[in-house]
Amino acid sequence: MENLNSLTTNNQAVILTNLEKILNWARANSLWPLTFGTSCCAIEMMMATGSAHYDLSRFGAEVVRVSPRQADVLIVAGTIVKRMAKPLKMLFNQMMDPKYVIATGSCTISGGPFIYNSYTTIRGVDKLIPVDVYVPGCPPRPEALFWGILVLQKMILQNSLFKNKKTRYRPVLAALPEGICIEEIHNEMKNILKSKKYL
């Protein structure tokens, strides 16, 4: 396999291009979510996957599998606490490749309303498992979850996950205008916090 890759020009195996497109199309259009709801975001996730108004089965993600073996996408919905970290990691490792993770809700992105003074909440799920798509909101509306799934589908179709499996793209980066990188934003936020102007 190694020498084959060297043959390719932009790290894209010439022979596989069309086959890969078909497989990506198949994987993108039949994402089977794994039910993993802990708190209030789980209700919005159920609202999206299981309710008559917002119907996730339009995008092919209707079959909500219970066992991690048959699931493709792990929608982490709700606060993750220290005691839940081990089962979450075990579940993620039990899932079969190609697997994706959508972190819905501000609790999974950064700990949400329980960041300060909570002795158990994990501040951000990406400390535990690699996350593909972040869906902000507390709880995010079902349409926001659809946005997350459509972004994931686009990423799969663009084959942006397979090129280098180690680094997972963070969509936040994609939305940044040219010339600005994430570190600048972090420093700016730190100064504001230190200066306590907002109090």
């Binding site: 309710s51 108004h53 709700g78 606490v81």
Partner: protein, 385 residues
Amino acid sequence: MTIQLKTLNEILHNLDEKKHWGTKEYFINMGPQHPSSHGVLRFVLKLEGEIIKEIIPILGYIHRGIEKIGESVSYRNFVHLTDRCDYFSSIINNWAVSRTIEQALNMETNDRIETIRTIFAEIQRIQSHTMWWGVFGMDLGAFTPFFYGFRDREFLTSIVEETCGSRLTMNYIQPGGVLYDIKSNFIKRIKQYIKYLRPRIEEYERLISDNVIVQKRTENIGILTKEKALSFGSTGPVLRASGVPLDLRKNDSYGVYDKVKFSVVIGTKGDSWDRYWIRIEEMRQSLNIIEQLVDNIPAGKHMVTKYTTKIKLPVGYYQSSIETARGILGIFVASNGMENPYRIHMRSPNYNNLWSITDMAVGLKISDLVTIVSTLDLIIPDVDR
């Protein structure tokens, strides 16, 4: 003075030695990620074939330490946190905290605020019961009620969202009033909804209650007698199913519940069927309450004190409880005169309803355990806080 501290492994270990293991009994772990565990409630079951010999609920998989956060957060901010506990009766939780603060500062609220609060509390109760009915159907194996329950709840959520601004964690009732005044077409839409939901509840009855499979799976399953219900501290529909007419809306008559005619629904045997049937009846009662209130909402200001005034409770203990969709929610505040409470504790209805399962589910099968858990209508983030 016999204090023996134990750990879970010791419990699981001596469960093995206590009874010599026949080849039949074995351990199973209805893990934190289980479709019918309503969240992250974990049961360790000791099974013999399919019959449950012993059941150990294990919590803490969503314990965020809300009471510890409560000690470093001002009273107005704590109202946000109560939304994240029992997210199916979030407005009623907000009302509990605001009522405690209003009683402590004996802050008077006018009639308009009280009627709006009662209307929204009943709306929240209907939302929670339709959601419960859908999940109850799903736990019994029928997938369609899940969608019907959500469909009806969705109409109500859009009405509430128009006024409160958010779908699930409303944070609508603040100490001293209500955050926003009700929108102009709120009354019209609520009346439409009442006309829409009444035949729907008949449809619910036809789909699930008249179904002989459901009746067979819920009658005489998980019987909670009156004495046991009281000693297990269960409240709300679970206690009323065992025949105890304890409903704070009637006894304490806060809000405008005393001006409204509604009956407290009581069961007889306290089995899963009673707990099921009571919630369906309670949905009808809530509809009646809203119908009586929605026409004559008195005029007045929707907020007595400005939203940004700081709240400082005098030193001492304050306690008030309120009837949520699942039971009595008590807020206990110990204040030392500072801006944030010295100690704040929520008496969660789900936490106390949960433990009666250790006595009810012994000797029944796994599918009965699933029925009982879903008739107890537990919300695990409210159990763990």
